[in-house]
Amino acid sequence: MALDEIKIGGLGASRRRVEDNRFIRGKGNYVDDVVLPGMLHMEILRSPLAHARIKSIDTSAAYAIPGVRMVMTGEMMAARNLAWMPTLSYDTQAVLATDKVRFQGQEVAAVIADDPYIAKDGCEAIIVDYEPLDPIVNPEQAVAADAPLIRDDKVNQNDNVVFDWEVGDREGTDRAFAEADVVSKIKLHYPRSHPSPIESCGSIADFDRSTSKLTVYMTSQAPHIVRAAVAMVAELPEHMIRIIAPDLGGGFGNKVPVYPGYVISILASILLERPVKWIEDKTGNLISTGFGRDVYLDGELALRNDGKILGVRMNTVSDHGAFFADAQPSKFKIGLLHSAFACYDIPTAYLTNRGVYTNKSPGGVAYRCSFRVTEAMFFQERMVQAAADELGMDQAEFRRVNLVKDDDFPKRTPFGFLTDSGQYEKCLQLGLDAIGYDDFLKQKEEAKKKGRLLGIGISTMTEPLGAGNSREYDILGIKMFDSAELRVHMTGKAILRTGAKTQGQGHETTWAQIVAHELGIPAEDIVVEEGDTDTAPFGMGTYASRSTPVAGAAVSMVSRKIRAKARKIAAHLLEVSDEDIEWELGRFYVRGAHDRGVTIQECAMAAYSNVPDGLEPGLENNAYYDPPNLTWPFACYIATVEVDPQTGVWDVLRLVAVDDCGVRINPMIVEGQIMGGLTEAYAMANMQFITFDEDGNCVGSNYMDYLLPTAWETPGFELHEVVTPCPHHPIGAKGIGECATVGGPAAFVNAVMDAVKDTGVRNIDMPLLPDRVYEALQTGQDVSGAPPVRNR
């Protein structure tokens, strides 16, 4: 009999997570939990100034402290050609500063000592003589003619512009605007934010002189990329480098780049021939590692009176901080910002982007998003609401007019991506019904009579998740495919390894479910391992919601290869030819004789004990999967809020989420991802941002200033689903981990803006802090969140 797929933990089972067994017992193994014999501890000294020349560094007092083993400076790194390292975006980044510091928190020196307390003492004893320079935190000021040059280390760099980039059809778009009945305009800033996993970054480098092998435990979402980068930067042979990413306490894009701390700990271990552990403190993490967002938009929509969007124009400026260290596909300077408006049927669009250096930390990582898609969708949905208001049209109706219709697929987006599937109107309608749209509008009117401010905000979007295909997507030239390796043992149990790296997404649970679906081996019989470059097949890691679209597809494909071989074994065991064999979950049988069959487990045993002539023994294989396209999940988020006119505080009344991520492997985990994402969306709309004062001091360098929502503030979420399978993914799944973070913020902001619409205010920049909302209500003016311009 065919197996019951849900019972064996296959596709669609809300299987409880296997990784939880260790986490709930406190038996997770995070980098800071790893202890190696003879291990030393490293601490980094960071710059207190945002822009300054280093005149001298005196390390003698640090060396005088008992237990201090070594103090490392930029000079020492430079002597080994390691003072600078390449970034993931073809720029360079200082490992330890030699000439200048360019942002507050930049790495200046490192102390290696017997314990972390002594290492910290050592840092405090170092005397650095700085000559302060003018810092710039505002990108507009950074490109002014008289701005001090931040990157004077680069030849041919005469200003603070990183790049100018454009995409789309400029002339076609100009024509659309010339023909428009109405042009709606809006200026927005998506503030700088930080992914801030609760676990900061860290590494333990362990160089063994006797074998020349370097082993590094590291908080990395992409250990294979790190291995390649270390091989190139440190000029070590790649086969002698082993990167192990053990359990990660969250990542959200923050743990994709290679940070100076990793590199310094590696060199320290090589020089001292001892394991060296570096665990970054929270402030170090917040002020120096990969941030997200920080993009300015000047956006315009060309509209027809009936609501049809004729064209899109987006002029954007992105602030990259002191080094251009975005983690993104190399072909696109500003990630997939041009995925904006993918869910709308719009004939033409044009986007420009200017990247700017400022005296801020470098980064621009894909913070829980597929490379700048979060900014794209936020801009899109804010522009859409502004346009609907401009036309005096209902915001739901305006979307209905412009959404791509179900039978229009495959459909080119305004910037040329190819979307392939979706039921956009159905999702929108489901959301509107769930929130009780018409009733709420009535309630809102009633409340207004009593001086209460209610608002409703919608955000609909499809986003490109799961890079590659590898024709278009690579990082530093390495193609963005992914991999899986499956070994089925004699007794039908199995081990699966992939090139992805879970950080809480539950791969140990869900990958086994895919194998169970393909082979009928119960999920509990399959162990999943990731993160060790010596054992895992080469893959590009986990970010940009690429695990299920790419590595998950590879898991399917490798399982199918195993099944194909098992079929040959089954034919041998059943003494019929291959063509006479039929498959049902977990079992091959003879066509026309259902009771004559062998299970996958019997085939596994035979693979090691009774193989037919001419067939290799064993039942192992691997698959490298290069997806034909991205996956395009769709989401509709609707928020209702009440704004207190006395204080500017706003509360979420309800949040309805409709997500279509195709086939759901584990619905429980999918919903967990959505709720986590919605919380980050709420955080960004409400409180979470990193800004700077005019001296370049980071405001948001700890959890007292960088506000993350707790269980108390976080609203409840109501989740709904629509399933439109992905046409090209082997099991029809699409990415989901990031949809809510990407699409969510606009729902909250649109709701607040709807509530205050009568005052004439058209925009308040995120986060919508009470004082900003209050100011807008008092003045009737828009409120900008751009960082200050320094008086010079």
């Binding site: 709930i24 237990g67 307390y117 959200f252 993350l708 707790t710």
Partner: protein, 180 residues
Amino acid sequence: MTSLFEEVPTSVDADVPTTRVELKLNGETRAAQIEPRLLLAHLIRNGFQLTGTHTGCDTTNCGACTVLFDGQPVKSCTMFAVQANGHEVTTVEGMATASELHPVQEGFKDEHGLQCGFCTPGMMLSAKALLDENPNPTEDEVRWALSGNLCRCTGYQNIVKAVLWAAEKMRQDGSAGDEA
């Protein structure tokens, strides 16, 4: 603890005084000779090698380091180890017995109350402290009791469900309110 051999670091500054601390850790009496500036979190993690107590922020904000101190949840990153002298400390490793998980642990697994697992030990101990005092909390009471613990992954909704699940189970088992 006795051992035949203990290496003493040669680099130790002779002027740095050390002091003895003795506490009841997960029901067992443990003692150590420590520098007075050692934080409780580090005594637990590095000294006694119970690495289930995590440190996320070192500034009393994230709650990943939460342990029970004489039954009360405290952030062990902001206490000196010497302050624990003569007290009882419970960490995540002390929640389950050899054969049985604590209902809070079961609830977290059953309701998908964790993702990366980093906040989980602290979160579960805060939850346990709540249920030890209030066997039948409302959703708001749960949210308030956990508001000193940050989670970046889950969005809290399932954590709240997990705690309510555990409360229900403990009431049924009659274990509610017992000091474990």
